[in-house]
Amino acid sequence: MSKIHVSTIVNGDPVEFLANPRETLLDALRNQLDLTGTKEGCGTGDCGACSVVVDGTLVCSCLMLAAEANGKKVETIEGMAGEELHPLQRKFIEHAALQCGYCTPGILVAAKALLERNPDPTDTEVRYWLAGNLCRCTGYDKIIRAVQDAAAEMRGAA
C-alpha cells in the first residue's frame, strides 16, 4: 500500500507528510502533525468535534481524506489565537461556555466561520449553524450567549 505525498498549509505553516490513502484528515492532523486540538467524537460527521476550515470552508475533518488536503489551506483550533485569544475564545472562558471542553475546539472553529459570514446572527441562526456541533454538558445556553457576546464585541471593534 503506497503512501501519498501531501503538501498543505496548516495554520499558515507549510507542512508535508505521507498519508495512507485511507487516512482521514482528522487522523493526519492528530497523529502525523501532533495537532490534537481537533477531536474525534463520532467519525461519522454527526458531532462536529473535528471541525476545521479547508480553503475557507467549514468541514468535518473526519469526512475528508488526508490526501484530499493536498494543495489546500487548513485552519484548526491551534491557529485560532494570535498573540491574544480570539474574542470567541475569551468569551467562552468568561461565560463558562464549556464544561468538559471536548466539543469546544470544534464549536469555536465553527462559530468563527459563522461570524466571518454573518457578523450579526440571530440566536436561531447561531443554533442552526452549530446544530452539527454536539455538546452534551452545557445545554448550549452559555455557548449561544458567548458567541453572541463575542459577535457584539467584534462588531464594535470593526
Binding site: 460527521g45 454527526d46 470552508t57 467549514l58 468541514v59 481524506l65 466561520a113 442552526y128 449553524w129 452539527g132
Partner: protein, 288 residues
Amino acid sequence: MRYHTPTSFADAAVIAAAATGTLRFLAGGTDVLVQMRAGVVQPDDLIDLKHIPGVDEIEQTPDGGWKIGIAVPGIVLGAHDALVRDWPGVVEGMNLVGSTQVQGRATLAGNLCNGSPAADSVPGLIAAGATVTVTGPNGSREVPVEQVPAGPGRTNLAKGEVVSRITLPPRGKNGGDCYLRFIPRTEMDIAVVGCAVSLRLDGDRIVEARVALGAVAPTVILSDAAAKAIIGTTLDDAALAALTKAAQAEAKPISDKRGTKEFRIEVAGVLARRAAKIAYDRAKGLTK
C-alpha cells in the same frame, strides 16, 4: 486501497471499468468516508472526481436551465442566488443534508448515488425534472434522476459508469417548488418522510405538477396520482384533501428505527399538503 485522481470523466470511467475489486467514487465523501470508517465498505479503488475541471461549477444553459458540477457542495448551491431563485425546493433539499460542516462537502451527485431512499436532495431533483449525464467507457448518456436509484444503496449505473453532471430544466414562468421533510429533531437526522412538489400556474390554476415522495419506498416515488390531484385546481381545500389522500395511498413504507409505517403514511400526506402550499405561494411570487 488505490486512490485515483483522474482529470477527466473519460479517464475516471476507464479506471472504474478496469477495477476488479470494490470501487467507490469520491465527490463530497460524506457517505463513503463514513462507510469506510465503519468498515462497512473497504474500497480497493477510490476515484476522487474533484480533480476533473468544471466539477465545482454551476452554469446557466442558454435555454435558462442549470448545469451543476458533481462536486459542488451544498453550501455553494445555497449561496447561488440565481439558482435559489429558480429552484428553491431543489436547493433546500440539498441544504437539509447534514450539518453546516457536511454542507461544506456533500454534493447532489453523491446524495443521489448513495442510493438512500431517504436522500433529502433527490425528491426535489425528481420533482424538478432534473436529469444527470452518465459517462461510461463508451461515452455519455442523459438519464432522468428518478431512473438512477435502484434500491437502498444501489443504482442503475453500469460498471464503469459515473454521473458527470446534473442538469435542471429551465424554471420558466409562474413555477415554484418546495421540499419538506420530517425529522424528529430540528437538524442532523435522516428524513423519516420527505416530499417535494414542483408546479406551474396559469393564473391561480395549477397547470403542471410533479410530486415526489421520499423515504416511503425503496426508491423515491414520483407520484402521478398526487400530481393529478392538484393539476387543474387552485389548490383549494378539496385539492389539498385529494393530494393528502393520493400521497398517503402512494406511500409504501416500512417500519424501522426511524419511524413506523403508519406514521410515515400519515405524515406523507401532511408534508405533501404543506409542500404544495409553499410551492404554490412561490409560484405566485408571494414568498421566496
